[in-house]
């Protein structure tokens, strides 16, 4: 039993830290730290920077241009990125589609698409959820009918994150209604410029445009864009969903968020004293700090198991549940910490160019919004209720 990182791992961490210190654009870093809006080119620049260093495809093997890192290395990389104020890596091409193509795609698909993900030629988005099929993915109804060399696709996808930036979408579509709902699903790669595709924004509760609806009206998709076999898409989709994701507990995000909270609690005053010295608030902070401290080790235990090859099963569901609860709790405390200054919301101040004077403390503006926006954490990506069902099922209940 040894909780220390090996000298190699520590050197690896140093490498990353130095790289980020030297090369991460300070304007971008500030935007992330201040909770301001990132635009498309912010992400593109960040991806390009990582790609020059060969660190973009952290889950890919070296033969495809990936890092070949193990789970612990990926974890260190994520920790350092969070700590440095780097944007997240947009996961759709890199962490979702990439692994599916490597395992189930044709040689031609791999040769064509994987390099384009790395060099930024393609921005992928995900076409899984539908208005009638959220947690119950298998009941999806977007139809693809084969006509000669093309599939004709009709239907609607929703919750398509950053779909307005994407030029390609990978979709689950129904190619058969025989058998169980899962059995007639296929996995298609679709060009967003195809005639018949329309992207409509969904404005979220904080007024932000982050997700979309995507409509398909007789969209023609070449049959060579089918991944694997027809009607086997459910298998590929599940592979994608359960594919080991180191970041699922969000420990890096929570750590940064708790640091922010602590900083705020040291300067926010309550009856003239720092809020951090108020017994009630200090106890609330200590509680979540303890939860997070334990979660760091829970996370690493599972990562370490994954690094030695034993695949994390229900453990990733546990990480998802407790990890999101902790993150949401930190968001909640940060909101509380502000007192009345949680109320003002100046949307324009989320833009980097904004230079009007802040209302209240300069860290206050995005806080309440972040609290509300992060309610999604326990809903999206398989709601916490679904995760509990999965765990219960694995126990034979």
């Amino acid at each position: 039993m040894d909780l220390r990182y090996s000298p190699e791992e520590q050197a690896f961490r140093e490498d990353i830290r130095r790289f980020l210190e030297d090369r991460l654009d300070s304007r971008l870093r500030e935007k992330v730290r201040n909770g301001q809006r990132l635009n498309k080119s912010d992400y593109e620049n960040w991806h390009a920077l990582l790609n020059t260093r060969g660190w973009l495809a952290v889950t890919w093997p070296r033969e495809y241009g990936g890092t070949g890192w193990n789970a612990v290395q990926r974890h260190i990389f994520e920790e350092e990125c969070c700590a440095a104020g780097a944007p997240r890596i947009v996961p759709f091409g890199l962490n979702m589609l990439g692994p599916v193509l490597m395992k189930f795609g044709s040689q031609a698909q791999r040769d064509y698409y994987l390099p384009r993900i790395l060099d930024g030629s393609d921005w992928w988005c995900q076409g899984y959820s539908e208005p009638g099929a959220g947690s119950d993915l298998a009941s999806l109804r977007t139809r693809a009918v084969r006509k000669g060399d093309v599939y004709v696709v009709d239907g609607q996808k929703t919750w398509t994150t950053l779909g307005h930036y994407a030029n390609r979408i990978f979709c689950l579509v129904r190619t058969s209604t025989d058998g169980k709902p899962q059995e007639g699903i296929s996995f298609l790669l679709i060009d967003m410029q195809s005639p018949g595709i329309e992207v409509k924004p969904i404005v979220l509760l904080d007024g932000e445009h982050e997700v979309n609806e995507v409509f398909f009206d007789a969209v023609q998709v070449p049959v060579e864009n089918l991944v694997g076999e027809e009607n086997r898409g459910w298998t590929y989709a599940k592979y994608l969903l359960t594919h080991e994701r180191t970041g699922i507990a969000g420990v890096g995000f929570s750590t940064t968020a708790l640091d922010d909270l602590r900083r705020i609690a040291r300067v926010q005053l309550k009856s003239g004293l720092p809020l951090a010295k108020d017994p009630y608030f200090a106890a609330r902070m200590a509680k979540v700090e303890i939860d997070l401290e334990a979660m760091k080790t829970t996370n690493l235990r599972i990562i370490a198991a994954a690094a030695t090859g034993s695949a994390p099963g229900v453990e990733s569901s546990m990480l998802k549940i407790k990890g999101t609860v902790i993150r949401q709790e930190i968001n909640d405390l940060t909101r509380r910490a502000l007192g009345p200054y949680a109320l003002p919301f100046v949307s324009e101040a989320l833009e980097a160019g904004h230079n009007q004077e802040a209302i209240g403390p300069d860290y206050a503006n995005p806080v309440a919004n972040q609290y509300f926006n992060n309610r999604k954490l326990s809903i999206f990506g398989g709601s916490n209720e679904i995760q509990k069902n999965i765990i219960a099922k694995s126990l034979g209940l």
Binding site: S129, G132, G134, S135, D136, S139, T158, W159, I202, V203, L204, L205, G207, Q268, L269, K270, S271, G272, Y280, F281, R284, D332, R335, R336, L338, G339, P340, Y341, A342, L343, P344, F345, V346, S347, I359, G360, A368, N369, Y371, F372, R375, K376, S378, I379, F380, S383, N384, E385, K388
Partner: protein
């Protein structure tokens, strides 16, 4: 013992509820909130005509209500429709005026009641958080008579549109002494008064106000020496009650929407309301909401009967409201799933208001601590609201 409302209050409730149902769908609410003022002047006049503003005031001040239960009934209805018009600011400012104003200022209350004048209270300061006694803004005697105000006021509700502001300022004493606080009636266009308005997360508007050597007549000072803090505490007490009632209304709306969704939304071939986990979590909300209703009754009753533990009952109500409001907001969103995260579907707006009510007039921690202090200082323990 009687838990039913009297005839007049039932009428108030019906009038408000019917009018809002017919004239104030969520779409209209969003339009009002998006306007420059953050509400509709026209709608405000109609509310006034209907007598809803007058319900905030006692007959002796020209109103038709003014008791704790009047306020509770009205704000519960406002909360169900997420009304953004300035009832809260008017209650705060109007109650202070009603308690302290000079005879020649009484016309102002009539103007508030008929909807032609908007008044708010500039009390909170950048450093004061929820501490009512923390006032750094200074009021100094002008050698030529009158007063000069200097300082900063924070998050003043509807402070950007109010024509009149009641400003608290320290006449003497240290920064957090209840004694030595004075209240001043200030014209919002007064020289040296600057205001910076902004939207709030929950759909309203507020303002930061700078008082840079604002010169006031002698008559601007409200009430007699030493009266201000008690009057402030009373007005804030009524406004706290109002927030609890508004939250109760919003909780009901949020849970009603959720029940409807649980009954109709299908997943895995069945309505999601058939899942036992969602049933139990929904039921837990209902139980807590009944508790909030009860504590609201306790608090309103303690105001109306002038009970000695009135401040404890109010803090208990605000604490419980804050605790349950967060639970209802988070759980109704979670029970819905993704759709609740959208602007279009209405629930999120109720959730935002429910959570942010905690940031007005003291959050759930502040009021729990206040309950501890009140019980400790006065030796009052659980003297029950039921006598």
């Amino acid at each position: 013992m009687d838990f039913s409302h009297n005839e007049q209050r039932r009428m108030l409730e019906e009038t408000a509820t019917r009018f809002l149902r017919d004239n104030y769908p969520l779409r209209v609410r969003h339009e009002h909130a998006a306007a420059t003022a953050g509400f509709s002047r026209d709608m405000w006049s109609r509310f006034a005509e209907l007598g809803l503003v007058g319900a905030l005031f006692h007959e002796q001040h020209g109103g038709y209500g003014g008791t704790g239960f009047d306020i509770a009934v009205l704000f519960e209805a406002l909360g169900r429709s997420l009304v953004v018009e300035p009832f809260f600011a008017s209650l705060l400012g109007g109650s202070l005026l009603a308690e302290l104003c000079r005879p020649e200022q009484r016309a102002l209350i009539a103007e508030i009641i008929n909807g032609s004048r908007l008044v708010s209270v500039a009390h909170t300061e950048p450093q004061s958080r929820y501490d009512l006694a923390d006032v750094a803004t200074s009021a100094t005697r002008d050698p030529h008579g009158g007063w000069r105000l200097q300082g900063n006021k924070a998050v003043v509700p509807n402070g950007d549109t109010a024509e009149s502001l009641i400003v608290s300022a320290r006449m003497h004493g240290t920064q957090s002494e209840p004694q030595g606080i004075g209240l001043f009636l200030v014209d919002a266009r007064a020289a040296g008064l600057e205001r910076c308005g902004y939207a709030t997360v929950d759909g309203g508007r507020a303002a930061e106000i700078t008082l840079n050597d604002v010169v006031l007549d002698e008559s601007a000072s409200l009430g007699r020496a030493g009266e201000a803090f008690a009057a402030l505490e009373n007005a804030v007490g009524l406004a706290t009650l109002a927030l609890c009632a508004e939250a109760l209304g919003a909780m009901q709306a949020a849970t009603d929407m959720t029940l409807e969704y649980l009954r109709t939304r299908k997943q895995f071939g069945v309505t999601i309301g058939s899942f036992q986990v969602l049933q139990h979590r929904y039921v837990e909300l209902l139980i807590e909401i009944e508790q909030v209703r009860s504590q609201l009754i306790n608090a309103a009753s303690s105001i109306d009967s002038g009970a000695p533990d009135c401040q404890w009952q109010l803090s208990a109500a605000k604490h419980l409201t804050g605790r349950v409001a967060r639970l209802v907001a988070e759980e109704t969103v979670q029970l819905h799933g993704g759709i609740a995260m959208t602007w279009e579907y209405g629930l999120a707006h109720f959730a935002k208001r429910l959570v942010m009510i905690d940031h007005w007039l003291g959050d759930t921690d502040h009021h729990l601590e206040r309950c501890v202090m009140l019980a400790r200082d006065t030796g009052l323990s659980a003297t029950s609201a039921i006598r």
